[in-house]
């Protein structure tokens, strides 16, 4: 029965497969992060650990956004709103004396989920650019509400009375405990989002991204699935916000600024959407770039911009895409070359790549120096343009609001 034999492997893979390459990469990243405290003990300051905490927290946020972008095809330009909402909710209950884990964490998660439910119910009715605009508009609304929260600091932000208490003790005050808690939550998020994407629900979500018409024809109503994904992603990002607020013991409207939303998108795209380790690597790469470049010059974004343009041009799959392409090349090379010839060629290639690397580094440092000088000159020259741009950016939220209002009105009439 050749037919039946063919059918079996498609029906049930027998042995549970070993870790895939992607999973091993993620595991390696987790191990590396787990070893970070050992490294930072050597250095007198806990600075490295602080950076590590930020990387871990933003990796959670990037994972939640990946659920929307990678699996759902929903590019949310307002995802940072949930960072702020999570941090504000926990901070506000803490400022009323309820800063225990059993109250502050559920408050942060529930507020994020509610905001996602209310705004998502409208946002998932739109697609593409309109979805981007409407999520941006909602995030800006949250931003302006936060700036007008006078009892809770308004523009200046809200200083938490304390980090969240655990069993009545300030356990999270201890930096190591806090770091490992964040890391454990990142690993849990990674596993959870992975299961979710592979589940029935995740398959429907991915199918809707692939071909909505086909999915409707077989009986899936898109809105409900997209809204559920939006609420899950928002809640998970709210968790990241809760952690971020704890880390700084502070929250300000800047957490929800649209630039922060943009940075989250950059993390996902820089790391490579479509994988789970990609966004985590993206968060790591982005924050490290930020740390190192901002030490070179305060105009570090002048260098980040071109770097991102280059990535968009030459590595559209982000870091994950580049790794996949490299593996493919290597696999092809290994198949083609004879072992001896291969060793020879590899040696040559290694030598070649070393000199290339040197040349690349030289070019990079020269470019950096040039850029710094250029930036100083440009700053003087561009002051008028800068104010104009600033004004334009201020106008953007109100534009988004108008757009939102029109959509809401239309929706209401329908």
């Amino acid at each position: 029965m050749p037919r039946a034999r063919r059918a079996i492997p498609a029906v049930a893979p027998k042995a549970p497969p070993a870790l895939t390459f992607d999973q091993r990469l993620a595991a390696g990243l987790f191990v590396l992060l787990a070893l970070l405290p050992l490294l930072s003990r050597g250095i007198a300051s806990s600075y490295l650990l602080l950076v590590g905490e930020r990387v871990v927290i933003f990796a959670i946020a990037a994972l939640s956004l990946e659920l929307l972008i990678g699996a759902g095809g929903l590019v949310s330009f307002g995802h940072a709103a949930f960072l702020g909402i999570g941090a504000y909710a926990a901070g506000i209950v803490a400022s009323h004396g309820h800063g225990t884990l059993s109250i502050a964490l559920p408050a942060a998660l529930a507020t994020s989920a509610l905001f996602a439910l209310a705004t998502g119910a409208i946002a998932v009715r739109t697609r593409g650019v309109y979805f981007i605009m409407i999520t941006l508009a909602f995030a800006q609304m949250a931003f302006f509400i936060a700036t007008s929260l006078a009892p809770y600091g308004g523009d200046d932000g809200l200083t938490w009375p304390t980090r969240t208490m655990l069993w009545g003790r300030p356990l999270l005050k201890d930096q190591l405990t806090f770091f490992y808690l964040c890391l454990a939550l990142l690993i849990a998020s990674y596993l959870g989002v992975g299961r979710l994407i592979a589940s029935r629900f995740g398959r429907v979500l991915r199918g809707l991204k692939d071909n909505e018409t086909r999915m409707q024809a077989i009986g899936f109503a898109p809105h409900l699935y997209r809204l559920t994904a939006y609420v899950i992603a928002g809640t998970l990002c709210g968790l990241a916000g809760f952690l971020l607020g704890n880390q700084a013991e502070f929250v300000s409207p800047a957490y929800m600024h649209w630039q922060r939303s943009g940075e989250l998108i950059i993390m996902v795209l820089l790391g490579g959407t479509g994988t789970l380790y990609g966004p985590m690597l993206g968060a790591l790469a982005f924050l490290l770039l930020e740390e190192t470049l901002s030490r070179l010059t305060e105009h570090w974004k002048v260098m980040l911009g071109p770097a991102l343009v280059l990535i968009a041009l030459f590595a559209s799959g982000g870091i994950a895409g580049a790794i996949a392409a490299w593996r493919q090349r290597r696999a092809m090379g290994a198949r083609l070359a004879l072992p001896l010839a291969r060793r020879h060629r590899l040696g040559a290639a290694r030598k070649g790549s070393r000199s290339w690397r040197r040349a690349g580094l030289r070019l990079l440092s020269r470019t950096a120096r040039g850029l710094r000088r250029g930036a100083d000159a440009a700053r003087a020259a561009c002051a008028p343009a800068k104010t104009a741009l600033g004004r334009g950016l201020q106008a953007l939220p109100s534009l988004a609001e108008r757009r939102l209002k029109a959509t809401v009105v239309r929706w209401w009439r329908e």
């Binding site: 398959r203 692939d210 024809a217």
Partner: protein, 249 residues
């Protein structure tokens, strides 16, 4: 007398001044293969879009199994037992052929709000999907991404997807469109094997295929049904010959 699965009652739809459906009345009987033919622009695809729920009619009623479904969404109709293929192939290009079909099975068996168990490993879904792929002779391509299938294979995959949700009514919008002669032969053979087991509404340009498959034919010209009947009757109808077949032969 056979029971009618689908009844259209004075279905009317206009795009601006263009009337694509002009008080269309039509009955699809249980188990019959009913073909709709007509010249380009007669409103065939618009009609099938209205039946499947992709397009809302301006007036008239669509009754399915004694139930008025005129206001229902496409997804809700699919749950009642509508299944359709598209004139322009609609598959999930990044999913394997098997998963394309398994998703259709999933839509009909249990909730899709399950967040933990890996869907690709659900044997009960895959078993039905494999059977459906075997019906259209596509089982050996089960693991190929649908986007890499040949055009004819995609057309057969669409039929497999439609069959997977155990439909009460199959809406096939030009299943032979763009297929080569060998593929067309295969598709006709596949559809012939389905004849009698399903109620089928077939929109098709290939006259040979239509006369080989249909129990009854309706002729749609400029949004109106000008004739309905058995193939020989329709072929002999002078109005049809003038409006449609006359141009072809």
């Amino acid at each position: 007398m056979k029971r009618a699965v689908l009844q259209l009652d004075a279905l009317t739809k206009s795009f601006g001044a263009l009337r694509v459906a002009d008080a269309i009345g039509l009955e699809i009987l249980a188990g019959e293969t009913h073909a709709i033919i007509g010249p380009n622009g007669a409103g065939k695809t618009s009609l099938i879009n209205q039946i499947s729920g992709a397009l809302a009619p301006d007036a008239g009623r669509i009754v399915f199994d004694g139930r008025d479904v005129t206001q229902m969404s496409m997804a809700a109709r699919a749950h009642l037992g509508f299944a359709r293929s598209f004139q322009i192939t609609q598959v999930l290009p990044h999913f394997s052929a098997l998963e394309n079909v398994a998703l259709a099975v999933q839509a009909r068996s249990g909730s899709s709000f399950r967040f933990w168990q890996a869907a690709a490993g659900e044997a009960n879904l895959n078993r039905v999907a494999v059977r459906s792929l075997e019906t259209v002779e596509l089982a050996e391509r089960a693991d190929t991404p649908a986007g890499s299938l040949s055009h004819g294979e995609k057309r057969r995959l669409e039929i497999a997807i439609a069959l997977a949700h155990a439909p009460k009514l199959l809406l096939l919008d030009e299943p032979m469109a763009g297929a080569g002669s060998e593929e067309t032969r295969r598709l006709v053979a596949t559809l012939k094997s389905l004849k009698g087991r399903y109620s089928i509404l077939l929109v098709e340009h290939d006259m040979q295929a239509v006369f080989a498959l249909a129990d009854r034919i309706s002729v749609l010209v400029a949004g109106r049904i000008i004739a309905t009947g058995e193939p020989q009757v329709v072929r002999a109808d002078p109005a049809v010959r003038a409006a449609y077949l006359g141009e072809a032969t």
